[in-house]
Symmetry: D2
């Protein structure tokens, strides 16, 4: 099913617009507002996250919504739409064909990475005028493309509505970076009725033209902060009155990395950030660490996270300082259903630009789409995570990351064909039988 040129052009323009105005997790007010307006305009029924997620399930929320809304307005977001969004970004949009049939849910993540984009002429987004205007924020993982593909898919599906049955739902998910938003979306039950669930990611180390129908082997990961609070004192005059939070954190960092490996599989610890102290001549009264632990399985992830907490509490005791640990994000592992992956493969066959197909692929990283995949599978549905290859200028999260925009029409066609196969009025495709 060929993609019209105007749809391709619009998709590329939107991706560049999103790229220029990247928004970090839980701060995607402009992106959510723009997506909502487009979706409503073409007839999708939009529900905002604030109307279905449970604030208690939200992880890693550290924005000041008033401030971000003000910014979003200054960058073109509609004030009235923002009022409807409230404090929680993201949305779910549904197309109900009115005909009996399966429920298919697609997930697109929309947040950016917290890194400062390169601003020299060798970097294409700079050269072509759409590099980030938001300091410290950059679409360095392709979610700008995900959002644009999602909106184009919405338009194409609406055009083909008469040949479809059942319901199709598009999730525009906030805060995938740091694996924070997926959990709240899953727990809200927004995909509980799904017969089929498909998440999509561009790039992932594969060149434009390659398609992986089903991805699995995600690492379970826990993201958390440790906040040490001691007591400051004059380091020369009366050091004994201080309680040294910096040394507690330093001891915790080294000993956390010394957590024993596990015979059950790979584990990881990373103290990625440590900031401590106030002045050169003051016993440091505070220290803050950003940490992540990972494991190949839920058990391994739990093992290393539990050990890390022991180290942190022990280090705090060593220096008689207080410490609090706050979970900032968490994700599990998941596996794509082979049947659904096979269907996606058949949807990809013959799509324009597709040159390489693989049914399964193992993923070294983490994605909180796993929460949604698991939830759908637990409710009896099938789930798949499709990888759409895209040549890139640098690795994911690098400040020179940029992906080949030719991958977007491929993604769109693969998803559109998949939807047509799953929800076409012709009935359940053979590949899903037995």
């Amino acid at each position: 099913m060929a993609i019209p040129q105007n749809i391709k052009d619009e998709m590329k323009a939107r991706r560049r617009d999103f790229h220029k105005y990247p928004e970090s997790g839980w701060a995607e007010f402009r992106t959510t507002a723009i997506a909502a307006e487009i979706l409503e305009k073409i007839g999708w029924k939009v529900r905002f996250a604030k109307d279905f997620i449970d604030p208690d399930e939200v992880m890693g929320y550290n924005v000041v919504p008033q401030k971000e809304r003000t910014r979003a307005i200054s960058q073109g977001a509609d004030k009235k739409t923002l009022a409807k969004i409230g404090a929680y970004t993201g949305l779910a949009a549904t197309l109900d064909t009115g005909r009996k049939g399966p429920v298919t849910v697609f997930r697109f993540d929309i947040d950016c990475v917290e890194t400062e984009e390169a601003h020299d002429a060798e970097h294409l987004p700079e050269r072509e005028g759409f590099s980030s205007v938001n300091p410290g924020w950059m679409h360095a993982c392709g979610h700008d493309g995900h959002a644009a593909v999602g909106l184009a898919l919405a338009e194409m599906l609406m055009r083909k509505k008469d040949g479809l049955r059942g319901k199709i739902r598009l999730l525009f998910q906030p805060a995938e970076e740091g694996v924070r938003g997926g959990y709240a979306m899953a727990m809200a039950g927004v995909a509980d009725d799904a017969d089929y669930f498909i998440a999509m990611h561009l790039g992932l180390g594969k060149p434009t033209g390659s398609v992986s129908g089903g991805t699995g082997g995600f690492l379970c990961s826990t993201k958390f902060d440790a906040d040490f609070r001691g007591i400051g004192a004059h380091a020369g005059g009366e050091p004994e009155r201080g309680k040294n939070a910096l040394l507690a954190a330093a001891a915790a960092a080294v000993n956390m990395h010394a957590i024993s490996p596990h015979s059950g599989g790979a584990t990881r610890v990373n103290v990625g950030v440590l900031n401590a102290g106030e002045g050169r001549n003051v016993v440091p009264p505070n220290a803050h660490m950003k940490i992540e632990t990972r494991g190949e399985s839920a058990e391994l992830a739990a093992y290393v996270y539990a050990k890390a907490k022991e180290v942190i509490y022990g280090a705090a005791q060593m220096y008689d300082v207080d410490v609090s640990i706050s979970k900032q994000g968490e994700t599990i592992t998941a596996e794509s259903d082979r049947k659904l992956a096979a269907l996606i493969m058949s949807a990809a066959e013959g799509a324009e630009g597709v040159t390489l197909l693989e049914e399964y692929r193992s993923m070294a990283g983490s994605d909180d789409a796993c929460w949604l995949m698991r939830r759908v599978q637990e409710h009896g549905g099938l789930a798949a995570y499709v990888g759409i290859g895209a040549s890139t200028a640098a690795g994911h999260h690098n400040n020179r990351f940029d992906f080949d925009e030719e991958a977007m029409p491929i993604a769109l066609e693969v998803l559109l064909n998949s939807a047509t196969l799953l929800n076409g009025t012709g009935g359940t495709p053979a590949v899903l039988d037995n």
Copy 2:
């Protein structure tokens, strides 16, 4: 010698003005400009630091002068005066009586502390409208008062010029915090001709009304930074490609604090600040530490500084990262001459508001006035460091520090009387004989 009320009022107003516009070490462009204008107006001969200090002797210079000058202008400094100041703040002002007699040098330090001032109504400077408008900078050590007292002393001495002989010089020294500026001033020879040298500090843990004629036992101190540079990598995907600067710094911090004490006397190590890493899921490619080492004697200070460097280099080797150490400041110890202290005591006797006199006092901290004291003593002069008690709202360097302004007239009278005794036309006071 009573201080006129208008002088007292002006001194207080100036102190509050300086307090509102605090300037960190080597950034005291506004303070220097205002002092220069006042001094020149009343007849002192002003020389700016840039015309006598050797840039090679300057430690811990980390400001962008163009940027600070722009700020200073926006905060009322005169553009033409700033042009004369160049890149180095501070000045020396001389009153030559034309009469044969001794050279007496007074030193006032003028920089602020790098801390964010409290901004609630319980804090007097906030309540009375003169709290800092410069974010992250605060006069939390009383140098605003030192500058104001110095200018009032200039005025009083000029009024009494006809009863004086010899020369009097006032040093307005930059960058005492971090013990950075005193060395360059001393090495410039700006006090080499001094027969008498007097430094003054307000507060120091004593209440208003107390005066310590001579202070000694300063700790020798070295201030330095360590900058670790490793290699970032995806902490989950390929951690082995990283070189972990955070762990190198953490190991250095803990082991530096484990440097053995010395039977020769007290030593101190403080890793006051540690900032490391870029993102939670990236092997930290960088780490920066602000450190100070101290010792009761030059030998002890050298011992602990040498050990600290060994630890840092060893930690870098452990994690295969690069490290550079840069000295940011340094000071030695010094002792007040008892004779000069005794003279100051006699100058303090009968001064308004003085309730407690002590000839000698031991100081737990460091002050780079020591460089000037030693230099004067090596050239055959006498030096003293006078402590003027001032009740305070909180300890020095605390963000709620504020001192009792009633201490300023006391300081002024003690210094003025001292100058009159030393440089009065009546000849050398008996206390200095034998």
Copy 3:
């Protein structure tokens, strides 16, 4: 080929004798002497290790041979045989049939573990009177059984000599624990002419009756010591004169365990032993650590060993102490040839007591038989490491380890049948063709 009862009885008696007089690596004088006497008596041609190994290839030699020979004599070894053994234990015994045919080499390791055997009645060797009489030494890995099986195999082969062709060689290898002796044996070329090489191990977590024809996936491992030398001093009186080797070692231990995992596969670090210091009130002048590093591949093993050395040298620099690193043992990984494993499987089929057969098995541990396996394979021969299951009272290296002696006749029959298939006058078995 059934094993006569008297052979079984003798094998069991010898195992118990070896168990009672365990000898640590490079100290197996009694074991070597007894084996030599038996082998020579029944007609094997014995060459002692000292006559073929190169002392420069010997790793981890830390015995005083004179002392161990004296002990061996007191425990029944023959003085004249000991004289022939010299300083290096172990031997190679050859049976040359005189008929043209392949060369088959079997390897039996003979040393014990350095652990103190349990001496209570719940421990069978104690109850039945053959627990270790050598303090701190114990056959806790089954090598007593290996030696006994090897001698029984020698006897059985000699009995069946007329049905054999080619040559058969039995290696009684010293110092497998700590992977020290295998390298010297391999480098001596003692298996270079082998067409077939078979190593055997009892136990390995499998119950009596199971046989694994080919084992692979051994971990590469490096065993090494780090010896820190500082300077002692009175810890109260003049601590600064000391150089603290204990703290250097402690810092090295923690930071060595913090070496980053590798995306290429599993790695391990273990600081197994740390002994430091002389007295409570003396700055510790010395520290000694026993360390091992492992990796799933040679590259991974090299990665972690190189990192460990960096940490050690860095820690020594931190505390200004000297350190030397000495390699005590090393082994590589190896894989059993599937063809030879298949032949062993066919040799095991129908052997008395065999209940479970598996062609391949992955090994979590290390064995320096790998040096011999690789050497044989590089010279064009086939190699296999056969696992003979044996139920055990506790895990390998535990002080309550004891294995089911019923496994010995199984081991003997499997090896005997293998030899008969390989060196039988009937020619090369079909399973090796293709």
Copy 4:
């Protein structure tokens, strides 16, 4: 009062005998037995420690008395005397003149250091045939001389009994090393009736001929052990099943040395000994540390001991291992009474060989005689700790320590003269009046 040559010769011979048979703290069975026999023979009334000390007050008792008694017998001690000694070494011997007068108590410590004596010809005790025959034990602190001087003093006093009044008591104290035995002696009240108490030490960094009448400024010290218990596991196969006691101890060691210094005065921490682990390839299940903390005052000692415990418990928590801390010894600080020191000075004046007198001296180390000094002072008596200079071949506790035996007659004469002044029938010396 000149010392007869035969007394000198006998004293030297006894010192060499004690030196040859050194006995560690609480193991001084031979020394106690020999002293008891001599003292009883010349008429002193001997009470053994077991008859007055409270076992609950005994610290750091870690000998097996049966075993040590057997050794003592084999080294010449009398069996019947040993029976009277029981399990606790040490004794108190009293000479009651029958005449009314003051009670004067002298204390001599008798235990050795746990170090292996040098055994080459450069070491005088080896060359002259009286080096230690007890492996790992050595009189490296001069207590062999103390015991010999004490016995000679007993003899001289008995000879001069008719010129004396009041009572004189000699304490032969066990276990001074590790400051273990003094507390039990003091708590037993064995010096509660003392008007005068004098302890004596040879050496202390001063040459033969110097005498310090009163010593003070002893460091308060706590000696304690930390015993970490984790779980062993195969370090390659399943490291996650282990709980690493070695790493817990290593982390504790480094961080304990990082305890902040105190503005109130000097403190010390020393992890003197660390032994951990069982085998190179086993996750270390155990670690044992010998630690001492010191402070210039009781408050400082308490500060650093409390901090050390926090570090130990925190480190155990970090590695999820158990730890127990057991106090092995403890002492306080004390000051010599200046009056009694002055009397000792007058006793030393004119003594043969005395060349240098000083009334007061500050001591860098610790001695549990302080418990006795304090107890006596609390009961209204005067106490002094007299230093008798003795040139030495190497520092105290060094394995080449040996002292100039010419110091012994000086010590004897100073103590004898002191006793004569204090308990002479002539009455209280003038120096003690007012």
